[in-house]
Amino acid sequence: MINKKLQFIIFLIFVLSIVTVAILAPYIATHDPNEAVLTEATKAPSKEHFFGTDRMGRDLFSRVIYGTRTSLYSTLILVLSILILGGGLGIIAGYAGGATDTVIMRFADMMVSFPGMALAIAIAGVMGPSITNAVISITMVSWTKYARLARSLVLKIKHEDYIKAAFMSGTKTYNILLRYMLPSVLPTLIITAATDMGGMMLELAGFSFLGLGAQSTSIEWGYMLNEGRAYIESASWLMIYPGLAIFITVVAFNLLGDSLRDILDPQNDDQILKSKRKRVLQTERKQVKRESLA
C-alpha cells in the first residue's frame, strides 16, 4: 500500500509538472509562438530554436510549450463535460426508473451506435471544424459510458435501507440525489475520468490531425503533427517534438489514472480484504491442523 501511495505521488508530480509547464508557458517559451518569420521556415533545431522552426517560420519549442495549454484545457473540458452529462443523466435514469430510465438509456444506446468519427465529420461539416466542435462531438458519443456506470451504481444502492429511510422521512428528491446518490457514485466516476484523460487527449489530437479539430489559428499538438506530416522526411522535427509531447502527456495521465484507481477503487479494496481474509483463514486452518495432529 505504501508503494502504491509513493507511486501515486510520483505520477502526480509528473502530471503536475506538465500542468506547471502549461501555466508558466509564457516564461518557458523562448519566442512568441505565433510570430512567423516566413524566411526562416523549416530550420533545423539549433541554439536559436531548440526544436527548429515550422513551415511558417514559427519557433517549434515555444509552440510545443504553448500547445500544452490547449491540449490540457480542451481535454479537461471534454472529460468534465462527459462526466457531468453522463453522470447526471445516469443518476437520474437510475433513481427515477420507469419511462425516464427507458428514454435516457435508449437514447444512450442510440448514441453509442454512432461512430464517433462519422459524427465529428458531420458536425465539422455543419458547424465548421474547431476544437470546440471536436469536444462537442466526442462528448456526444462518449457520455453513455458514464451514464451506464452511474445508473448501475445508483441501482445498487437505491433499495438500501438508509435511502428508504431518507425517503420516508420526507427528504426531497433533490437532496437524496445530491447527498446520497452522488457521493456513492462519484469516486468510481472520478477514477474512470482520470483513466480516460489520456485516451481523450489522444482522441482530440487525432481529430485535429485529421483536420476536424483545432485549426491553423490555434496551437495544438495534433494539428502540428498534421502540418508536419508532409515534411516527415525532410524536416522530421516537425513531427517528432509534438509527437513526443503527446506521448509523454498521455503516458503521464494514464499512469496517474491507473495509480489513482489502485488507491481509490473500492472493488480493489474488497479484493485486498478478501485475500487477507483468505490468508488469515488458511493460517488458522493450518494452526488447527497442527493442533489436532499434536
Binding site: N34, A36, L38, T39, A41, T42, R55, M56, G125, G128, P129, G211, Q215, S216, T217, R229, A230, Y231, I232, E233, S234, A235
Partner: protein
C-alpha cells in the same frame, strides 16, 4: 492417434496460411500483356472517363491517354491540329469546316469518320442537357453554342455553324469536353483514339490500360499501364521511391519535390504554370473597403510565400494571367509593392486603427475579422495561413477556414467568405476570356461581386473582338484594372510537375497545359 490429429490440423493451418499469403501476393505480374508495363501514380479526380460526366472525367480521359480531341494544345498553349488535320473558317467566323484526318481509328477498330465526330459532339450536348434527359454535369455550352453541325463523309469534313462569331474554335475543341469517343459503344465503355484503351476500372483504386493497337500517331511504347490512385502527395513520393510506381504527376509537397529533384535517380519535369493561385475578394463584406484592400496587398510578401513557404511550387506574380503567357505581363505596373510599414501607415491614416487595445484594428467600431476560406489543394492552405500570419503583423485578424472542396465551393456560391483562395487554369481553351469573366459584373460566376464600369465595358469589347492583337491589348488593360483596384490577391503561377524514375523511363515531360499526362512520348529506357 491424437498426435496424428494434431499433425493434420497443423498441416491444414499451414496450407490455409500459405494460400492466404499467395492470394495476397504481388499482382504486378498478372497483366494480360507481357511487354513493358508502366505504373503511374495519380490523384484520383474521377473514376469516369466520359467527357459528358463532368469536367474532371473529361480531363481524366485525356490525361490517361484514352481520349483525344480534334485539336491539341502545344507547350505554347496554341491549339494545333490533331484528329482534325485542317480547317477553314467563314469571314464572319461563324461557319467552321474541319477536315478529319484519314486513317484514324478508335481503339476498338472502328473508323473515326466525320459522322462519328458529329455523333460524339452531339452526344456531349445531349448528355449534358437536362431537358433532353441528359444527366452529365459537363458544361460545353459555356464554351460553344452551335446552330448546326453536319458531317460529310465523302469530303471527310465536319461543319459547325456557331450562333455568334467565334474566333477560337480550335482552342475550344481542344478542351477535353470535346474529346472524341465512339458513340456506338458509349453506354458500355469509353472508347477513344488515344494511345491506350481501358481494360478495367477498379473504382477508387486503379485503372488498367492496354495499348491501342489501332493508334494512328506512331507506336505505343507500353503494352499495359496501371493508373494507380494515390491522393496523398507524400504517399505518392514514397511510392515512387519504393518502386511501387514508375512515374507520378504533381507531387505538391514542396519538401518531397525538393528531395526528388536533388536525387539523380529521378527525373523531375516542371512546366511554367498557366494556373494562377489567387484569393477572390468579397466586395460585399469588410473588404469592400478600398484602403483595407490596398493595405493588404502591400502587407503580403508574395516572393517569400512562393519561394519559401511553398518552396517554389509557384512563381510569384502580380496579375491574374501568368507571366509565361503572351499577355504583356512586362507592361503591367504594380502600385502596391510589398511594404509592411507603408501598409500600416495607410491604415492608420484612414482611421482603421485599434481603439480597444485588443491588438486588432477596427472599422466602424467593429473588429476586422477576415473569413478566409480555402481547401487543401496545390498549397492553397499554406497561402491562406501565410496571409493570416502576415496580416496579423499589421493588426488585421484573419480566421482561416480550411474545408473540403465541396464545402468551400458552397461557401463561395453563398457569398459566405471574405477571401476565397483557389488555383485556376487561366487559359482552358487557349484564351483567357473565360477566366477574365470571373470579374465581369454581369457574369453569374463573378465570385467576389466585383464591379467596375470600365472593366465591364472592356470585357464586352473583348467578347466581340476577333482581331488577336486588339484582343491582347484589351486583355492587358483588363489585367491592369484588376491590379489597380486591388480586386484580387494574386500569389503566383503554379508550376505543374511530373516525376519519373530516371533509369526506367524517358520522355516524361509535363505539358504546359495540364490536360496531357500519359502520352506516347513516355517510353521505357532502351525503346
Amino acid at each position: 492417434m491424437r498426435k496424428n490429429y494434431k499433425f493434420i490440423a497443423l498441416l491444414l493451418l499451414i496450407s490455409i496460411c500459405s494460400s492466404i499469403l499467395i492470394a495476397c501476393g504481388d499482382k504486378k505480374n498478372k497483366n494480360s500483356a507481357n511487354g513493358p508495363h508502366l505504373n503511374f501514380g495519380v490523384y484520383n479526380y474521377s473514376d469516369s472517363l466520359d467527357p459528358a460526366t463532368n469536367t474532371n472525367s473529361s480531363w481524366c480521359g485525356v490525361r490517361y491517354g484514352v481520349t483525344e480531341g480534334l485539336f491539341k494544345f502545344s507547350d505554347e498553349v496554341i491549339a494545333e491540329p490533331n484528329i482534325a488535320d485542317t480547317y477553314t473558317v467563314s469571314e464572319d467566323y461563324k461557319v467552321w469546316t474541319l477536315h478529319i484526318r484519314e486513317g484514324v481509328k478508335f481503339s476498338n477498330g472502328n473508323d473515326v469518320t466525320p459522322t462519328a465526330v458529329k455523333d460524339s459532339i452531339e452526344r456531349l450536348y445531349n448528355q449534358t442537357d437536362a431537358s433532353r434527359g441528359g444527366t452529365g454535369n459537363s458544361n460545353p455550352d459555356g464554351y460553344l453554342i452551335y446552330e448546326t453541325i453536319t458531317a460529310d463523309d465523302d469530303e471527310g469534313t465536319v461543319t459547325i455553324t456557331c450562333t455568334s462569331p467565334t474566333s477560337n474554335i480550335p482552342g475550344i475543341l481542344a478542351y477535353p469536353y470535346f474529346s472524341i469517343i465512339d458513340v456506338s459503344v458509349a453506354d458500355k465503355e469509353i472508347v477513344g483514339t488515344g494511345p491506350y484503351k481501358v481494360a478495367k476500372i477498379n473504382n477508387g483504386v486503379s485503372i488498367e490500360l492496354l495499348s491501342n493497337e489501332y493508334y494512328w500517331n506512331g507506336e505505343v511504347p507500353y503494352d499495359s499501364v496501371t493508373i494507380m490512385f494515390i491522393d496523398d502527395s507524400s504517399t505518392k513520393a514514397m511510392a515512387l521511391k519504393s518502386g511501387d510506381i514508375d512515374i507520378a504527376e504533381n507531387i505538391t509537397t514542396a519538401s518531397d519535390l525538393r528531395t526528388l529533384s536533388e536525387d539523380e535517380n529521378y527525373y523531375v519535369s516542371i512546366a511554367p504554370g498557366v494556373r494562377t493561385g489567387n484569393s477572390y475578394i468579397n466586395y460585399e463584406g469588410v473588404l469592400g473597403n478600398e484602403t483595407l484592400r490596398q493595405a493588404i496587398m502591400m502587407a503580403l510578401d508574395k516572393d517569400t510565400m512562393c519561394d519559401i513557404t511553398v518552396a517554389g511550387m509557384y512563381t510569384s506574380g502580380i496579375s491574374v494571367l501568368p507571366s509565361s503567357l503572351s499577355y504583356n505581363y512586362d507592361k503591367l505596373t504594380n502600385p502596391y509593392e510589398f511594404n509592411k510599414q507603408a501598409a500600416i501607415e495607410l491604415l492608420d491614416d484612414a482611421g482603421i486603427v485599434d481603439t480597444d487595445g485588443d491588438g486588432w484594428r477596427e472599422i466602424d467600431g467593429k473588429n476586422i475579422d477576415i473569413n478566409s476560406v480555402t481547401f487543401t489543394s496545390r498549397n492553397l492552405n499554406e497561402f491562406a495561413e501565410a496571409v493570416a500570419l502576415q496580416l496579423a503583423e499589421i493588426g488585421i485578424k484573419v480566421t482561416v477556414n480550411i474545408r473540403d472542396y465541396d464545402t468551400a465551393l458552397a461557401l463561395l456560391n453563398a457569398g459566405e467568405f471574405d477571401l476565397w483562395t483557389c488555383n485556376t487554369l487561366t487559359v482552358g481553351v487557349g484564351d483567357p476570356q473565360d477566366y477574365l469573366g470571373n470579374w465581369y459584373s454581369a457574369n453569374s460566376q463573378n465570385y467576389g461581386y466585383y464591379s467596375s464600369e470600365k472593366y465591364d465595358e472592356l470585357y464586352e469589347e473583348l467578347m466581340l473582338e476577333l482581331d488577336n492583337d486588339k484582343r491582347k491589348d484589351i486583355i492587358t488593360q483588363l489585367q491592369q484594372i484588376l491590379i489597380n483596384d486591388a480586386a484580387t490577391i494574386v500569389y503566383g503561377y503554379y508550376n505543374s510537375s511530373m516525376i519519373s524514375r530516371a533509369e526506367k523511363i524517358t520522355g516524361a515531360d509535363i505539358a504546359t497545359i495540364d490536360y496531357y499526362w500519359l502520352t506516347s512520348k513516355i517510353k521505357p529506357i532502351g525503346e
